[in-house]
């Protein structure tokens, strides 16, 4: 129906123009060469612009007639509700489709007007653009679904925020791959799938009118109430996790540390006096003995805590591959596409294709690029051969490695330049001609580290061993830390020689229990379903914030059971309330199951959805007959 689209004309045209300008303009965060030739590895501006645009457009589409006051003017027409909803969703998709097409075209024209070399434009660069744009679809779905809910405006905003936070963070976690790079296909399909789900929710929700004086339709509870509770449950894990992290940090601070005294190890606690320790027994109680650590020969303090950390919640613009895309020689920027094609860009020559050898052959997929020493280096993804860009020749030339060595990575020397040993290593990496931060990069092989000096690879002895001891390598290795942060076994010495001291750190004193209990309580408050899943499955590398470390890996089943018991108690009390209000059995059953599985968040949603006003019954006395009545209507001749 063209007129149903035309009545939406103001927001369709206005929204289309704004969305096109926003999506097109956002591509200008990078150069035209990066966006349309090489294929950007991350379009942060486009990603954030797209989801904001989507949410706003979806909300406007859902609420346009309501804001204009024409909702009933439209509803009294001989049109099926589904036709109205279809027209609304169609208008939204038309706006998004137009901005998806016109945005990049406008951006390309903008680049072409001010930069040369845009004739290198490749279709292979488009997937990265559209993968960044795809969040506009899911954002629009969330906007239109939440906007169509027959609930007060503040509840729509809360539901939209919950759906948005939960779905984007989960998709981010699901689509993340090696070293934080996102996998494009899962990312795109997940967002398109989410959009389809939210559009379906909108299509159902828009059939119902808001009426606070009547119970909601059961289908609304199922398609909007339960998903809202689920989203809130996902988000609820974040404050629970943060609270647990804080409590466990305090607990670990309260645990005694191990002091090596001569040949023996003792548990000690710090005193207010610096360097003076108070000895504890195996139950962490003070023995009264004091050790002055400042005296010579007293040995060192060991704090054998597992170096775990909580995986933080969040989402960000996806990074499509883990390596860098560009390197800089003195006058030229070298750009490497994910599919191995290479270009140079300089003020003098503009954008120019280059490659391996004089034939300008492309590199393999997943090749790596970076500035190493005095050159721009690419490690070929297939042969693992390092290549150096030769400015004079205008192409890459190979750099031979010792026999049996393969270029594995372009490493980063995260060293402390104030440490004399580290400074000596950094000095070997530095190129005296280019005193900038990128000089810390090196070619990493199985057995060594190399920098480039005068066009050749030069070994940097000791660098690899030093870097692998570094902080970053350790943190990365512990990203999937499975250890229990509360019960910590200690075995010393830990250098492979026979164990002479064995102890288990766990809450033993009242002070330690006081710090452990909040962590357990927050564990009980987590959504029981997620607790059960986290208990029986392996902690995921990404999205670990969703699950509880205290019950992961099969630990503490009593905590999982406790969360279900708490959920059941909440469900029972809410079911009583619902029955008192006069709700149907189906309503009681639905919310009971939701609360048992999702816990407190489901209770909150149920409480907001099932207000006493909706179930109120008034005993109205039968209206008296009109004091002045005459013949009934059916007796009036037509």
């Amino acid at each position: 129906m063209a007129w149903l689209l035309r009545k939406d004309g103001p927001w369709v045209i206005g929204g289309g123009i704004v969305a096109t300008l926003a999506l097109g303009g956002a591509l200008h965060e990078h150069s035209g060469a990066r966006v349309f030739v090489v294929g950007a590895d991350r379009l942060e501006g486009a990603f954030h612009t797209a989801w904001i645009t989507g949410v706003v457009l979806g909300s406007v589409a859902a609420c346009f007639d309501e804001v204009l006051g024409t909702r009933e003017f439209l509803a009294q027409r001989p049109l099926a509700r589904t036709a109205l909803i279809r027209a609304r969703l169609r208008a939204l998709l038309i706006v998004l489709a137009c901005s998806f097409v016109l945005g990049p075209i406008g951006a390309w024209i903008g680049f072409a007007a001010f930069h040369d070399g845009m004739w290198h434009t490749r279709l292979a660069a488009l997937p990265a653009i559209y993968a960044a744009y795809v969040v506009a679809l899911s954002g629009a779905g969330i906007g239109v679904a939440a906007g169509s809910l027959p609930v007060p405006w503040w509840q729509r905003i809360v539901v939209a925020a919950a759906w948005f936070g939960a779905s984007f963070a989960l998709i981010d976690a699901v689509s993340r791959g090696y070293q934080g790079a996102a996998r494009m296909a899962p990312f795109v399909f997940a967002h398109v799938g989410a959009a389809a789900v939210f559009f379906a929710i909108a299509a159902v929700a828009a059939r119902y009118d808001a009426d606070p004086d009547r119970p909601r339709a059961q289908v609304l509870r199922a398609i909007a109430g339960v998903p809202a509770a689920a989203a809130l449950a996902v988000l609820w894990t974040v404050p629970c996790g943060e609270g647990q992290a804080r409590a466990i940090d305090l607990l670990q601070d309260a645990y005694p540390v191990v002091l090596k005294r001569g040949d023996e190890h003792v548990l000690v606690r710090a005193t207010h006096e610096p360097g003076v320790w108070r000895v504890c027994d195996r139950d962490h109680r003070s023995t009264g003995e004091r050790i002055d650590g400042r005296q010579p020969g007293r040995g060192g303090v060991r704090r054998p805590m597992p170096s775990w950390h909580w995986l933080s919640f969040g989402f960000d613009a996806p990074l499509w591959h883990s390596g860098h895309q560009s390197g800089w020689s003195d006058t030229t920027t070298v750009l490497l596409a994910a599919d191995g094609l290479v270009w140079t860009r300089s003020l003098a020559d503009g954008l120019r294709a280059t490659g391996r050898g004089a034939e300008l052959l492309p590199f393999a997929n997943d090749s790596l690029i970076g500035d190493v020493g005095d050159s721009v280096v690419v490690i070929d993804g297939a042969t693992r051969q390092p290549w150096r860009y030769d400015d004079a020749a205008g192409h890459f030339v190979p750099m031979p490695l010792p026999a049996g060595e393969r270029g594995e990575q372009l490493g980063w020397a995260s060293l402390d330049d104030k440490d004399p040993d580290d400074a000596a290593l950094l000095a070997q990496l530095a190129d005296p001609k280019r005193a900038w931060a990128w000089q810390r990069r090196f070619v990493r092989t199985q057995h060594g580290a190399y920098t480039v000096r005068d066009g050749a690879l030069v070994a940097v002895p000791g660098l690899l061993a030093r870097v692998d001891r570094g902080r970053w390598a350790r943190d990365d290795a512990l990203a999937t830390n499975q250890t229990d942060p509360i019960v910590i076994p200690i075995e010393l010495p830990d250098d492979g020689s026979p164990v002479r001291f064995r102890h288990e750190l766990r809450p033993r004193t009242a002070n330690e229990w006081a710090r452990a209990v909040p962590a357990f309580v927050l564990s009980l408050c987590r959504p029981p379903l997620l607790q059960a899943i986290g208990h029986v499955t392996v902690m995921p590398r990404r999205g670990g914030w969703l699950f509880d470390r205290l019950v992961a890996d099969g630990r503490r089943p009593w905590l999982v059971l406790g969360s279900f018991v708490l959920g059941a108690a909440l469900a029972w009390s809410f079911a009583r309330r619902l029955r008192r209000l006069g709700a149907d059995r189906a309503v009681v059953r639905l919310w009971s199951v939701a609360i048992v599985l999702l816990g407190l968040p489901a209770l909150l949603v149920a409480w907001a959805a099932e207000r006493p006003r909706a179930y109120a019954q008034h005993d109205v006395a039968a209206a008296p007959s009109p004091r002045l009545g005459s013949r009934a209507a059916e007796e009036v001749p037509a």
Partner: protein
């Protein structure tokens, strides 16, 4: 005999603690013009919104053209015209666009009829909706509703906000447009002179239920208004024939229903009675729904006249 177009059967509806309809029962026959009167918040709009399916009743049932109002199909909606009190139209459209929009969304829309009606009301197709005066917008809404050839036209206080001339024009347009269509009309209004001009039957809604549900002729025939100055010690008359007795400066104003001759004779015997007359609709309405304490507005004025502060400060 033919079945009614609209039937309200014991309809109850509340908003929070406020019971707005306490068992509304009325019928509108084919071709009948039914005026639903009542003070503000009497429940008129609620009744009409339930009829149109925008709201659901808590108890009772509304039948429209033989269908339950809770499940109106598009086909039934196509047989109902609606003019809202705010004359809502899409502000970005022109008059011609509004006509085209109506024509596309209502299969029974009569384009030629609408064009002719536009001419008669001096509305130009090129005029933009925001540029129309309130009266013109009301006329356009009426044309759009009537041109779809409805069997039932529902108007919720359509003349609200219009000045006297505009109201007259609007009503003339309504009468013209409905002539010979056989369309039943259910409308709410505050303008009782207008109602007297066009309504066949009147319902006065007060405190959630109907006080009056009668034809205008019946009202005029059965209700009498008179002024009665009682002799000392004569009590005020009560009973089913006295709709209201209120004190006035020149005695008591009585509103009598089907007053039997012996009641009139007793009143004459107990005091001085003016000749009974048929009341205007406004007098009847005020008599039935007016404030129980006539002095409610007079007391502050009296205090003002005595020089006391109107708010009666501490």
């Amino acid at each position: 005999m033919s079945s009614p177009v609209v039937t309200f059967d014991g309809v109850q509806r509340w908003f929070g603690p406020h019971v707005v309809l306490k068992g509304l029962t009325l019928q509108v026959g084919p071709g009948q013009v039914y005026a639903l009167l009542g003070r503000n918040a009497a429940g008129k709009t609620t009744a009409l919104r339930i009829l149109l399916g925008f709201l659901q009743p808590h108890r009772g049932r509304v039948t429209v053209l033989g269908n339950d109002s809770r499940a109106l199909t598009p086909e039934v909606r196509g047989r109902i015209g609606y003019v809202g009190e705010d004359h809502r139209l899409y502000p970005t459209m022109k008059v011609a666009d509004a006509i085209a929009f109506e024509a596309e969304t209502r299969p029974a829309f009569r384009r030629a009829f609408a064009d002719k009606a536009l001419q008669r009301c001096d509305l130009r197709p090129a005029q933009r909706i925001p540029q129309l005066s309130r009266g013109q917008r009301a006329q356009l809404c009426l044309i759009l509703a009537v041109a779809s050839n409805p069997e039932l036209l529902v108007c919720d206080d359509p003349a609200l906000g219009l000045d006297v001339v505009m109201r007259r024009e609007f009503l003339d347009a309504l009468i013209d447009l409905l002539a010979d269509t056989g369309c039943a009309v259910l409308f709410s209004s505050h303008f009782l002179t207008d109602v007297e001009r066009i309504a066949d039957r009147i319902g006065i809604l007060h405190d959630g239920s109907l006080l009056v549900d009668s034809t205008l002729d019946d009202i005029k025939r059965r209700v009498q208004r008179c002024t009665w100055l009682p002799a000392n010690g004569t009590p005020l008359p009560t009973g089913p024939h006295v709709l209201r007795a209120s004190q006035r400066r020149g005695g008591h104003e009585l509103l009598l229903l089907d007053a039997p001759p012996d009641l009139l004779a007793a009143l004459r015997a107990g005091g001085e009675l003016s000749p009974p007359q048929a009341p205007t609709l406004e007098e009847l309405f005020l008599g039935l729904t007016g404030p129980d304490r006539p002095g409610i507005l007079r007391e502050p004025l009296d205090e003002l006249a005595r020089g006391a502060p109107a708010g009666g400060g501490a």
